[in-house]
């Protein structure tokens, strides 16, 4: 249920993101989903990849500050109110989301990556409420 996400600290420098994606490409590591949080003079790239341990090791060796974080991936059907339903459950359970980002995985549903203080609890609450979580073996191969 719990997915490993990599977070990579990036200084604001032209080409830094290109360099990173090149390293992943050269090592045959696929990116399933990503988002960039941008602060004033740096950014944090959050990415879900196939073979996260290997990717983290390669990026650390290339000199990046890389952290591995647990996240939950939620399948949200492509229909109005799909995301609302999930977020409503979370707010009813008093769970605050630190950040989230989404990607379309197929024609029927989108996948939303969620992070909160207590990711295990987050996953449990969603499951208890019959929300569909994406399994790790599936997401790493998207």
């Amino acid at each position: 249920m719990i997915i490993k996400q990599l977070s990579i600290f990036l200084e604001d420098k032209v080409g830094r993101l290109a360099e990173l994606t090149e390293i992943l490409a050269k090592n045959d590591i696929n990116m399933s989903a990503f988002s960039v949080a941008d602060a004033l003079d740096y950014g944090i790239l959050r990415v879900v990849v196939g073979r996260p341990e290997l990717a983290a090791q390669i990026l650390k060796e290339a000199g990046y500050s890389v952290k591995m974080t647990d996240v939950v991936c939620l399948a949200v059907p492509h229909q109005p109110g799909g995301l609302y339903k999930a977020l409503h459950i979370l707010s009813e359970n008093n769970i605050a989301i630190d950040y989230m980002y989404a990607f379309a995985s197929n024609v029927d549903s989108a996948t939303v990556v969620l992070h909160s203080d207590d990711v295990k609890h987050l996953a449990q609450v969603l499951q208890d409420n019959q929300m569909e979580l994406v399994k790790s073996n599936k997401i790493y191969q998207v």
Partner: protein, 431 residues
């Protein structure tokens, strides 16, 4: 353990008697043999006979680094060239290098001073001492080399740099003592941790000097390498390393004051300050033959501590150097020492982070930017974690120096690293 108990534990009256006698002899030699000083004393209306004891020291004029440059290379030598057996020089980052000369007796005296210092740190003939100070024109390498030899230690003259080889020999030879700059010691400690080889080392004593360092940096080095780290102080103009040294009490560095008489002055007015007040450290070398210096202004800011130390020594101690009055930054009217910024960082970081200070002037307003390398333990995946880290650093700096600094986090290992003196400050103002 004392190397020279008679003098290191002498009472005040005896020390002043020795100092006064040596001062008087030195002034006579200098007056006869160095035209620069003869002129200077004449200008001040003083003859050597006017200086009866160390209490008259304050009547003498100062010597500054520019005087050494103006008399480049040998103009301040008080002996003929055939008595000079060694020449050292400082790097000439601003103008010509400053040259110092040594007679055979000067080298003997230097080794004696270093031997006292080594003994203070507990180094003896049972030790293997790895000297990772640079050998050459810089006084660090050869000064430590002959001093450790004097106490009978087995010296490894490996010189600075080449970290891989340093660690290999440290492991293979079983070095028990390492002597280098604190920033290089920090770098070695980092590398030892990264390679996980601490258990293979036999190090127990570190003799670190040639640049100011903080207590936080000391704790990091001591804890990481499991050694006791001692500060050694010196400058080539006076002799090189071994002007002063910490004993096991680590409560100030004992000055070899029978050779180098210290004073603290107000750097603005030149007035002598009482013991305990912070000011610029000034030395008069009373035994040096080749190049004696009268009241040489070191530009190092510190204070003097008198009174018998718990170790039993009675020599005057100096507090750690707070900074140099000539690399002190004045930012928006605030005096800033890089060591203060480091202290602020060490309240947040467990070990000394790599950092850089960048000072700019925009529209007549000075700005201080502190670049700090991000380390893995300070964040997980969120912007707010990094923003909180920046705020903590910024708040620490503000409370320590009363100045706002903008903090820029940079990627690990992205700032220049030095294996010698750290280059911490980039001042883009034209002052």
């Amino acid at each position: 353990m004392y190397w020279n108990e008679n003098i290191e534990c002498a009472d005040r009256a005896e020390m002043q008697r020795v100092q006064s006698e040596r001062l008087s002899n030195m002034l006579k030699r200098v007056y006869e043999n160095v035209p620069f000083y003869r002129e200077k004393l004449k200008e001040a209306g003083i003859t050597p006979d006017d200086i009866k004891s160390v209490n008259d020291l304050h009547k003498l004029p100062f010597t500054i680094k520019q005087d050494l440059r103006d008399n480049y290379p040998f103009g301040l030598f008080a002996v003929p060239q055939n008595k000079v057996v060694r020449l050292h020089a400082s790097s000439g980052t601003t103008g010509k290098p400053t040259v110092v000369g040594y007679t055979q007796n000067d080298l003997e005296m230097w080794s004696e001073c270093f031997a006292r210092c080594a003994t203070m740190a507990g180094v003896s003939n049972h030790d293997i001492a790895q000297v990772a100070y640079g050998y050459g024109l810089f006084t660090g390498g050869l000064g430590a080399h002959y001093g450790f030899e004097r106490v009978g230690a087995s010296v490894i003259p490996i010189s600075g740099g080449n970290t891989k080889k340093q660690l290999q020999l440290m492991e293979d030879f079983g070095s028990t003592v390492i002597a280098c700059t604190p920033s290089y010691a920090s770098f070695l400690a980092e590398t030892v941790t990264a390679q996980g080889i601490k258990d293979k080392l036999k190090l127990k004593i570190g003799v670190f000097g040639a640049e100011p360092w903080t207590n936080e940096m000391r704790s990091y080095i001591e804890n990481t390498l499991d050694i006791k780290a001692y500060n050694i102080y010196g400058l080539s103009e006076i002799i090189g390393p071994a002007v002063s040294m910490e004993c096991e009490c680590q409560d100030g560095s004992h000055i070899q004051e029978d050779h180098f008489i210290p004073e603290i002055i107000n750097p603005e007015t030149g007035e002598v300050l009482p013991y305990g007040e912070v000011g610029e450290l000034v030395f008069t070398t009373v035994t040096k033959e080749a190049m004696p210096l009268i009241r040489y202004r070191t530009r190092d800011l510190t204070k003097l501590i008198v009174g018998k130390c718990k170790c039993g020594r009675t020599t005057v101690r100096m507090a750690p150097v707070m900074g140099r009055s000539d690399d002190m930054l004045i930012i928006r009217g605030v005096n800033v020492f890089p060591s203060q910024i480091e202290s602020a960082l060490m309240e947040v970081y467990e070990k000394s982070p790599n950092y850089q200070l960048i000072v700019n002037r925009n529209n007549n307003l000075d700005t201080l930017e502190v670049k700090v390398e991000l380390t893995d333990e300070h964040w997980n995946s969120e912007v707010k974690e990094i923003e909180m880290l920046k705020k903590r650093i910024s708040d620490n700096i503000t409370s320590l120096i009363g100045l706002h600094a903008s903090i820029k986090m940079v990627e690990p290992n992205s700032l220049p690293r030095s294996e010698g003196k750290a280059q911490r400050v980039i001042d883009n103002r034209n002052i």
